[in-house]
């Protein structure tokens, strides 16, 4: 199957060796996402290492957290 061998470029090499400690599962990320997003909106300097690390390493969870953040921010900005 050499003809279809996959290729690793620098970007993939960096993704493959990303430091994902401390570990957090996708399910735990989902559980904590609402609280995390509200904390970040209240204080942009807020940090939760496990959440930050997971969201850097998991594009699906990152998309969902980013989306939730924007939706909640939209609600807050339209509060009369």
């Amino acid at each position: 199957m050499n003809s279809s061998r996959k290729h690793v470029d620098l970007r993939a090499a960096r993704l493959l060796t990303l430091d994902t400690e401390p570990y957090l599962s996708c399910a735990e990320c989902f559980d904590r996402m609402d609280e995390y997003v509200e904390a970040l909106l209240a204080d942009p300097a807020y940090d939760d290492e496990r959440m930050r690390t997971h969201l850097t390493a998991c594009p699906a969870c990152a998309e969902e957290a980013q989306s939730l953040m924007l939706l909640v921010a939209e609600d807050q900005s339209t509060t009369p």
Binding site: K6, L10, C26, L40, S67, T79
Partner: protein, 221 residues
């Protein structure tokens, strides 16, 4: 990617909404009666708002889908999310606003549905062959790319199991979404992320040992 909040003015009062909503969602949704019916309608409105917000974000993945089908997909996701919220209602602990908590179910359902749609006609190759170094890295990459990429490929052959290779290549080289891969493999997003985490740990350890990576990750003591 670092998640950063948009620059918005944050009020201390609960977020206002454009529809009537109960002060105590859990009670209103739990006790049969007219208030429950009203709360269910309000919850459905919330789910629709979040799922339509999500399809707008992922619109490019649905470029070949007509407007009617996009609306249908968002509505189905909202319905599924509503069921999920009601099933999980007893677990709501009030650590966030109810609306924020409920929104995440619709965003999750809708994002998953869009990714499944995007990949429904695409094959996911599951190959445990060790990948090779890209032959034509971008000019910026030239100095670093060959060395790190070949060390990574080498480590993939020596320290990963065939299953870890299949999963890491599908997720990080072919960029198959994690929920799509979980569906094809009959497993869960959690299980795949754990496989990925363990594989990354093994690769890092090998590359630290060979001097290709510093012993401590950036920003870590």
């Amino acid at each position: 990617m670092t998640l950063r909040g948009p620059d918005v003015h944050v009020r201390s009062a609960p977020a206002g909404t454009r529809w009537p909503e109960p002060a105590d969602w859990v009670t209103a949704l739990s006790l049969p009666g007219p208030e429950q019916e009203e709360a269910l309608r309000s919850l459905h409105t919330l789910m629709l708002r979040a799922s339509h917000h999500q399809v707008r974000r992922m619109r490019s993945a649905l470029h070949d889908l007509g407007e009617d089908r996009i609306v249908e997909l968002a509505n189905e996701a909202a319905d599924d999310a509503m069921m999920a919220v009601l099933a999980k209602l007893p677990t709501f602990e009030g650590r966030s606003r109810f609306t924020t908590w409920a929104y995440k179910f619709a965003i999750f359902q809708c994002a998953t549905a869009v990714r499944q749609y995007e990949w429904q006609h695409r094959d996911v190759e599951l190959d445990d062959a060790v990948p090779q170094v890209a032959s034509a890295p971008s000019p910026d990459d030239l100095a670093e790319a060959g060395d790190l990429a070949s060390a990574v490929c080498d480590a993939m052959m020596h320290v990963l199991t065939p299953h870890q290779r299949r999963v890491t290549v599908a997720l990080l080289v072919d960029e198959v979404p994690i929920d799509v891969l979980a569906d094809r493999l009959g497993t869960t997003r959690n299980a795949l992320y754990k496989t990925l985490h363990d594989a990354r740990k093994r690769l890092r350890a090998q590359l630290v040992a060979s001097g290709h990576l510093p012993a401590v990750g950036p920003g870590r003591p």
